[in-house]
Amino acid sequence: MRDLTDRALDTAAARGAAYADVRVVRRRDESVTIKTGRVEGVASGESEGFGVRVLVDGAWGFASSYRLTVAEADRVAAEAVRIARASATALRQPTRLDDRPAAHGRYETPLQEDPFEVPLETKIADLLAADQIVAGVKGIAFTESSYAAQREWKTFAATDGSLTEQVITHVGAGVEANAVDGDEHQRRSYPDSGGGWQAGGYECIRGLNLRERAEPLADEAVALLTAPQCPSGQFTVILDPSQLYLQVHESCGHPSELDRVFGTEASYAGTSFLTTDKLDEGFRYGSDLIDIVADATSPGGMGTFGWDDEGVAAQAVPLVQNGIFVGYLTSRETAPRIGRRSGGAMRADGWNRIPLIRMTNINLLPKPGMSLDEIVADTDDGLYLASNRSWSIDDRRLNFQFATEVAYEVKSGRKGRLFKNPTYTGITYEFWRSCDAVGDERSYVMLGTPNCGKGEPGQTGHIGHAVPGARFRNVQVGVGKW
């Protein structure tokens, strides 16, 4: 491997690169999909290759290949330099990088039970057992249950002498119950609608207790078919962690990406309302209860690593403190522009993509006081919303609208009847300012999404979110015509 990385860096430097880095990535994955009690698909895959990123005269170039040979390293490095020179023909502000120390070392995701060593038969049987319970409930039209694991072996080397090795392992599993009656289609999923992903080994899957949760889940999907429509109006809303994590993702994580703020995602995902003047002025993002941190060291989070993909060590970066906006997700290129050093948020989707500023683990920190159950008990009249069903937010991350799988009426401190088709909408900072209760450590759970899209060509990111559940006042619930 050193032959290839050395050759790529030497060739890039010889052809004029002031800086170059190379990542060699091998990715292994496997998946099991079960539909309505039968194994629908089992697959395994592996991908390997390398990508060379160069900076020539202040302009970026990147090239990549699946052929892991020294000769290909020469060709790809030369192509990257040629591409950078083409970039330089339309360059107005030459890129400057911050001066992070050279990176050296090895990181491996802590785990107890290697998911790739667990017999495939065991993994299928575990998932099938849960799925068959769901499928066996009267009124269930179809189910979809999934298990997946992914491991990356990643070598990073750069012309400043950096050399790191990382082995990152992520696993996920979940069950989904679907009930259909005419035009009505109701779904319930567990542990969340994103597939229950974490960083770790098969012990994470065992810890989900899918079988125990299967039957109540299916019963609820069937019950939703005849449940009343969720009412519309201004409500007190309590968000379960299975919804709150995506609220954090969309309305705090993405707008905190400094590349979006500087416009480099404008043509695709959009920009951000969190412009740099808001950092300077101490913009009130949320209520005093809101503390949000980008923490690449959180146990079990899919945004946890040793170094990001430009060799910056993992760290915890405060984004919001006591409700005040205090920081961004940054890179070596963007951080100096606000007078800071990189917070280590550059991540690439495999060997054939450049690193972009991505979320690590964006966590809403728990607040001592009430558990989530105690927040419910503290609520006279409201709605408890769980498990995301759909999401949408505008191109500056202000106007959002979410649908959840279920709403429970909350009256006099108790969760009561079900409502179907709940939706809620708002403006990001108004919503977070309306938060008057955040759960404590007892309801703090690590969740995440394995399918965060960003960039052109498209990249899919694995993002972690630890959240405890929270309560919001005067939220607009119910939109559209049904």
Binding site: S31, T33, R38, E40, G41, V42, A43, S44, G45, E46, S47, G49, A59, W60, G61, F62, A63, S64, Y66, R67, V76, E79, A86, S87, A90, R92, Q93, L120, E121, I124, A141, N178, V180, D183, E184, H185, G263, T264, E265, A266, S267, Y268, N352, R389, S390, S392, I393, D394, D395, R396, L398, Q401, A403, T425, I427, E456, P457, V479, G480, K481
Partner: protein
Amino acid sequence: MNDDRAGDALALAEAALAEALREGVTEAEALVMAEDSALTRFANSEIHQNVAESNSVVNLRVVIGKRVGVASTGRTDPEGLRRLAENAAAIAGVVEELEDWGGLPAPSETSPVAAGYSASTAGASPEFRADAVRAVIAAADAAGVTAYGSFATGLESTAVANSKGVRVAGTRTTSQLITVSMGPAGGTGYAEEAAVDASTIDAADIGREAADKARATANAVAIEPGDYPVVLEEYAVVDLLDMLGYLGFSALAVQEERSFVEPGKRIGSEVVTIRDDGRDPAGLPLWFDYEGVAKQRVELIERGVCCGVVHDAQTAARAGVTSTGHGLPAPNPYGPFPLNMIMEPGTSTRDELIGGLDRGLLVTRFHYTNPVHPKLALVTGMTRDGTFLVEGGRVIGPVKNLRYTQSYLAALAGTTAVGRERRTLRGFLGGVVVPAVRIDNWTFTGGTEH
């Protein structure tokens, strides 16, 4: 057509197939997807990201009795293919039988679409893309706005070989230029073009279109959300077709009772006709699917009435029909997908479409759309990069972006006019050919600050 590249891909597929058959399996299918692609991205009127990729993936599906295993690899050497076959066979050895497994598809008559390949796109260099980007930026500079966007060019070779005798391979090219212009006072504009031949894309023209719109949307004013008739430009209509294809026009969606499609049911007005046709040169042609089956033209909606859905081999076997050639790479829990949706043009000019609005909105494009209730095709999203108030058939001025929560089926039913000009654009997964449309009602449910 680049026969050497396609031939190389087919040889690799046959080598993988041979390895699979050595494992003693009942059936096997090897799919090779090889690409050389590049993308030049620009923001703040300069190139800030510029990438190229050479990749090849072998996907192997093996069947033992009715037990199916799938494995994939990027390793194309003999040892990599041997391990691939072992992995796929090992999976097939431990999974349960699929009782309704219909078998791998048999050979079908396929012939390449010559219009699907362009030598100029295949040879597109970083300098070629940079030239186009500079033309976009120059148009933005001339209008006093700032340019953002990307220019992608790609060469894709696909080959399928299976144990029933399927042997197909082809190479095609695609390109896409998109740009967002941002002007003073909050104005933004969008333009896009996709083509097989990248040299046919007039970058300066695309740049001018977006820049002009950015100028025209400066100082947008807020309007009350509510019900408005709309004219959707082509960039917005893409989302309608994509979402309906995802939610309803897949045979698997019908079989799982989550689709709105019922053959013979009227879901659109008389002016709505939509088909999928991978051979239409107006789109980005793709003449066989990822199971090696020739793509059939499928009428999805004919004058407002549901006609057909697209099939892959497995959904076709369940339904007792033949595949329409819309399979995706295995394993595929999402089912078949219409990758080349084409909407029939109407007779209206752009001015006539707008002229038919007494008081309504002209919408350039949608952003971040997502189904709220899939079976009702109820979708939410935002407008973006050019939303205008129209009164008395004339554009009055720009308005701030709005959120909508709208049934796309109701939109088809309420379509009153269709534009006579069409654009070729990129959808979720493939090329789409779309006109602008006028719809008698669209439900806007919220607003934002820009």
